[in-house]
């Protein structure tokens, strides 16, 4: 009998410890599938952030390092410069990448570092229990925006994909979602393109992945998918923002 579906080699056998309905598991799997498909697992070094996905080092079956909060792109820069033939990716949440690590992501992108960034945007801080993220939507209630995010004092949610697309050093940027199978297939394509960009030495690539956090949103997994589609996608449009011609 032919095996048509199995666990990617780039994932360990450890069961995910993420909350029910959280999209980290899907995102991990898509990254792992891409590494498998390109046959680069054995030359890949992943950088995990501070936040829920600090545990990504357990789940990815490749060399891994944990960076300080927000510094993953700088750590990745050090790795890639020392080992230019390796495949280097960071996996970061929205607090990590778009708040405390803003300087690192902007300058790593601007230098055109030949790395891939998987940016999980779930509009909230998960690990610390549901505080406002830089990507929290206007009016969204969190522990630290208990009356809803008020742009007058808390600013507007940052559109990372659009912002980084303005930088000349960037090769590939897209935004995807994981709330339904059709989106997941597109997300997989985008993640593949991002790694392909790196493998071909074309420069910095980033995929912003709109994700759910049912636990801290206070919704069931199904309601969370619906909330993402009704609230996040209108503000964070899906699609490719930048592609190197040869990869598109």
């Amino acid at each position: 009998m032919k095996k048509v579906f199995e666990s990617p080699k780039s994932l360990t056998k450890d069961p995910f410890t993420y909350c029910p309905g959280c999209h980290h598991g899907i995102a991990h799997r898509l990254v792992a599938e891409a590494l498998d498909e390109f046959g680069v697992r054995e030359k890949t070094i992943g950088v995990c952030p501070v936040g829920c996905s600090v545990f990504a080092y357990v789940f990815f079956n490749c060399d891994m390092i944990c960076a300080a909060h927000g510094r993953a792109p700088a750590v990745a820069t050090g790795i890639k410069r020392a080992k230019p033939d390796s495949i280097v990716f960071t996996y970061q949440g929205d607090g990590d990448l778009a708040s405390i690590g803003t300087a690192e992501i902007v300058h790593t992108a601007n230098r055109g570092e030949n790395i891939t960034v998987i940016f999980i945007n779930n509009a909230i801080y998960g690990m610390t229990g549901g505080q406002m993220a830089p990507t929290t939507l206007v009016g969204q209630v969190t522990q630290t925006s208990p009356y809803g995010r008020d742009p007058k004092t808390m600013g507007y949610p940052i559109k990372v994909a659009e912002m980084l697309s303005t930088l000349k050093g960037v090769a590939y940027i897209s935004r995807v979602a994981l709330s339904k199978p059709a989106y997941i297939l597109k997300a997989k394509k985008a993640i593949r393109k991002a790694f392909q960009t790196q493998i071909e030495g074309k420069g910095f690539s980033l995929v912003e992945v709109l994700s759910t956090c049912p636990t801290n949103w206070g919704l069931s997994p199904i309601e969370a998918n619906k909330w993402l589609e009704e609230n996040m996608i209108p503000y964070y449009p899906l699609g490719e923002f930048k592609t190197p011609e040869e990869v598109s």
Binding site: I45, N61, M64, I65, C66, R71, G78, R81, A103
Partner: protein, 352 residues
């Protein structure tokens, strides 16, 4: 024999680092150490299998070092006081992850933005950990440009030997000073194999991972005890200091770096007026040469600690002396350098 060259302290560190096999440098400009960053740019950008990155911040620079060190290469960053404060986050991570690297601090007057003149007020930060958590750096304190060269090379070896970050704790004066230096041939020494932990891709082996945390407190305590063991070994094996005229001295000066250099002039001038002064110059500030200080305090009952701080190494000297002798202090701060005549005047006060 190597060739003799006239070099500025900051540039000499760069040359020493490159000759020690450090081909990966990540830095950010700050006075008075920028010549080192510029030197590394000039050299490394022309070299193969090397990298120079002007980082967006000190936080990023030390994180780049963390990444590079994780792959097993020798890497370095450098800065001066305010910039070193910013690096503390990464230094704590590197110490916890037990990665070797070298950090240079050409200290300037503090606190705050302070001044751009030399200082020694980062002693506590350098020797007691600096960032959060229980850890130490290997701290080396050069007092000449030649020693900057030698200690920079030693720093890479010590860092590799103990898989621990090492710091060159200089000051703005020594970085700016020009002196003749020689890059001596060095004996190959046996260093531990890095193969077991480096991140180079998992071809032919299980994956390696470097994570500076453990949510299980008992495991985290174990990790702490393991790195403490390393510090005990350092205390046992790697203490270095220079002593001058300890026998029959009426008073012992304890000073490091450029201040020790001034103290040597004090010793000569004091001799001319019939005062017999000795000097203990710690070369390693961590591990601190407490034994020689303790032994000397059994024989000489007056000490004078001189620093470009308000009395930081003073505390370690007092701990080592442990009440057996009188420990006095003279310090200038904010970028002011103590003169030999000021120090001699101070000494005379205690020898009345």
């Amino acid at each position: 024999m190597g060739e003799k060259m006239l070099m500025k302290g900051n540039e000499a560190i760069g040359e020493a680092a490159i000759r020690a096999g450090c081909h990966f440098y990540f830095g950010y400009p700050i006075t008075p150490q920028t010549e080192l960053t510029a030197y590394m740019a000039k050299k490394l950008l022309k070299m193969k299998n090397a990298a120079f990155v002007q980082a967006e911040s000190e936080l990023a620079a030390i994180s780049m070092v963390y990444g590079a060190a994780a792959t097993g290469v020798r890497s370095m960053t450098s800065s001066s006081s305010p910039g070193i404060s910013l690096k503390q986050e990464g230094i704590s991570y590197i110490a916890c992850a037990e990665l070797p690297c070298v950090i240079v601090n050409m200290q300037r007057g503090g606190p705050g933005l302070g001044s751009i003149q030399p200082g020694q007020a980062d002693y506590f930060q350098a020797t007691k950990g600096g960032g959060h958590g229980d850890y130490h750096l290997i701290v080396l304190a050069p007092s000449s440009v030649q020693e900057l060269v030698d200690l920079t090379m030693d720093a890479f070896d010590l860092a590799d030997k103990y898989t621990n970050p090492a710091m060159i704790l200089g000051d703005g004066l020594i970085g700016q000073m020009m002196e003749a230096v020689e890059f001596k041939e060095r004996k190959k020494i046996d260093l531990p194999d890095k193969e077991g932990w480096i991140l180079t891709g998992c071809k032919g082996r299980e994956k390696n991972y470097i994570v500076p945390f453990n949510l299980d407190p008992y495991e985290m305590e174990k990790l702490n005890l393991k790195i403490q063991e390393k510090y005990n070994k350092l205390k046992e094996k790697e203490v270095r200091c220079e002593t001058v005229n300890l026998d029959n001295a009426d008073l012992i000066i304890v000073a490091y770096g450029i201040v020790a250099r001034i103290a040597k002039t004090v010793i000569n001038n004091a001799k001319k007026v019939g005062i017999n002064i000795g000097l203990i110059r710690p070369i390693t500030l961590f591990p601190f040469p407490e034994k020689i200080i303790a032994e000397t305090s059994e024989k000489v009952n007056k000490f004078l600690v001189v620093e470009m701080s308000m009395g930081q190494m003073l505390e370690d000297v007092k701990l080592a002396v442990n009440g057996k002798a009188e420990v006095n202090f003279y310090g200038r701060v904010g970028g002011v350098i103590p003169t030999q005549s000021e120090i001699l005047t101070e000494i005379k006060k205690y020898l009345k």
